[in-house]
């Protein structure tokens, strides 16, 4: 397997609106890729094409050397690609444990409707996976709390945890720190990234906070006007004048030895 995710000449148009065009990217396994760009630059369109919620008008997508272009999203989930949401999508009336357990049980059921009816939701497999995931994301103290009372950070961790119980090999995070206070952003990302690294998951995360991107990404894809205008290490991309002009603004700290936040 050359790259876990390969995208070639990807394009998506809606009538006369070109949302994304000429995207060619190759992501090796276990890399952590930060995706930056202004709203409307094509990041979400890109993500949605990978997860199968949008069908590309041109180009192809390969996952683990298998073409997945235009496949329905349910199949793509089953193949090993998962995503989390900018606004945490959880089940408010269930406890944290039940949230994760349901997700784990879904991932583990044998195929189709018959499988759904015959597999118990609290099977030993699912419950063990749920406990493990809760530990992994360090939300054990909220295990029996109803999800509608959770603080924002825990909601996000739960949301990501639910995306991970099926052991996906590729995870797309949509603005993981949006809505989180500045003091908590780094702690949250530390927990998330170490959890994902433990499970050897390749990560693409969309972020608007450049400090986060600089600290946690191995590689940065910068989107502008529907296509990738920069692709390289955080230092290279975030310091490039073009990226600074169009997306990120000028960095105040010197390029070498940066990290942490003001």
């Amino acid at each position: 397997m050359s790259a876990i995710l390969a995208v070639r000449d990807l394009e998506k148009t809606f009538g006369s609106l070109v949302a994304a065009h000429d995207i060619t990217v190759s992501v090796p396994a276990e890399q952590t890729v930060g995706v930056i760009g202004a709203n409307g630059a094509g990041k979400t369109t890109f993500i949605n094409m990978i997860t199968g919620h949008l069908r590309p008008t041109k180009g192809g997508i390969w996952f683990e050397d298998q073409e997945i272009t235009g496949k329905p999203s349910r199949e793509i989930t089953r193949l090993g690609i998962s995503r989390s949401f900018q606004v945490a999508q959880i089940f408010p009336s269930l406890t944290v444990f039940d949230n994760v357990c349901v997700a784990a049980a879904i991932a583990r059921r044998s195929g189709g409707m018959w499988g759904s009816i015959t597999t118990p939701v609290r099977s030993p497999d699912a419950t063990a996976e749920a406990e493990a995931t809760i530990e992994l994301f360090q939300i054990g103290r909220y295990r029996d709390t109803p999800a509608n009372t959770l603080p924002q950070g825990v909601r996000k961790l739960l949301d990501i945890g639910m995306a991970v119980v099926g052991w996906p090999r590729l995870l797309l995070l949509d603005e993981p720190t949006s809505g989180i206070s500045i003091e908590e952003k780094f702690d949250l990302m530390n927990v998330v990234m170490s959890a994902l690294k433990t499970r050897k998951i390749t990560v693409l995360f969309v972020e608007h906070d450049m400090e986060i991107v600089a600290r946690f990404a191995d590689r940065v894809l910068a989107f502008y006007d529907g296509t990738v205008i920069a692709d390289g290490t955080p230092t290279d991309t975030l310091d490039s004048p073009r990226v600074q002009e169009l997306i990120s603004g000028v960095r105040l700290k010197p390029a070498a030895g940066s990290g942490g936040h003001a």
Binding site: T77, I90, A105, S116
Partner: protein, 305 residues
Amino acid sequence: MFLFAAAAAPLLPEWIVSLTTIAFANALVVLGLVVLWRVGLVSFGQALYYCIGAYVVALLARWTGLTDAFALIVIGGVAAGLVAVLIGFLLARYREIFFAMLSLALSMILYGVLVKTESLGSSDGFSVTTPTFLGYAPHREALGLSLYWLTLGVDAIAAVLVGAYFRSVAGALAAPIRDNEIRVEFLGVSVNSIIHAKVVIAGILGGLGGALAAMAIGHVDPNMAYWTTSGSFVFVTILAGAGSVAAAFVGSLVFEAVRSFAVDVMPGLWQMTLGSVLLLTILFLPDGLGSLVSRLKRRGEVQRP
């Protein structure tokens, strides 16, 4: 509970046995509604399946001479289930009030067809031939008891199966779908398929209920498909609450008891009584009688140090 009810029967007067049989037959329809209620859907058209089950029993007995109760209820349930499979393709795409309205419309179509069809008895309906039980042909009290035990048997099997369903992935997805359908889809589940399955389950239960009721009452008529019949099933579901399988049976019993009591004691005002009971339940016991039971249970637990 079922064993107790079964054993107690021969000791009770005939009218109680008959009342309870009908209540337990209707309870199956209510159980189907509970399955749908858990996922946030209310069907105002379960009378469709109830009526199909009932008419299938009555027509088969009349046209083919088949009177075996076991065979009849199975065929009734299967017929209703097949209709549910067909309708489900459509119905599974709707939610909330639109689901309720479409199910209402479909049941009223059946009503309209039956009322105007001479060969099916039009608005008078027709009587149901006395059922037999694998060759055994009881009369009077023995017949009443046989039907009673058959109904209890079907109820017990249904209770066990539906309970297992609630613990399965498909059943347990009810609350998540109600909470956040989109997330469930993103986890890789076809929500419409799950709902389709629930419509079918409710349809089969409705058909079984109707088949049993037809034999217990001895008569079928188009009113069994009318919206007020669906309304009374929904009424019982509210009364019972969706908390447990047992709630459907208890609620159905309470409803029949209240209705009979109201019709006997104040024949002119039984609708008012029923309406008031429903109103009070909604206002003060929004999770139904089932929640009252769990509240009492919880209080019992807190008492113990």
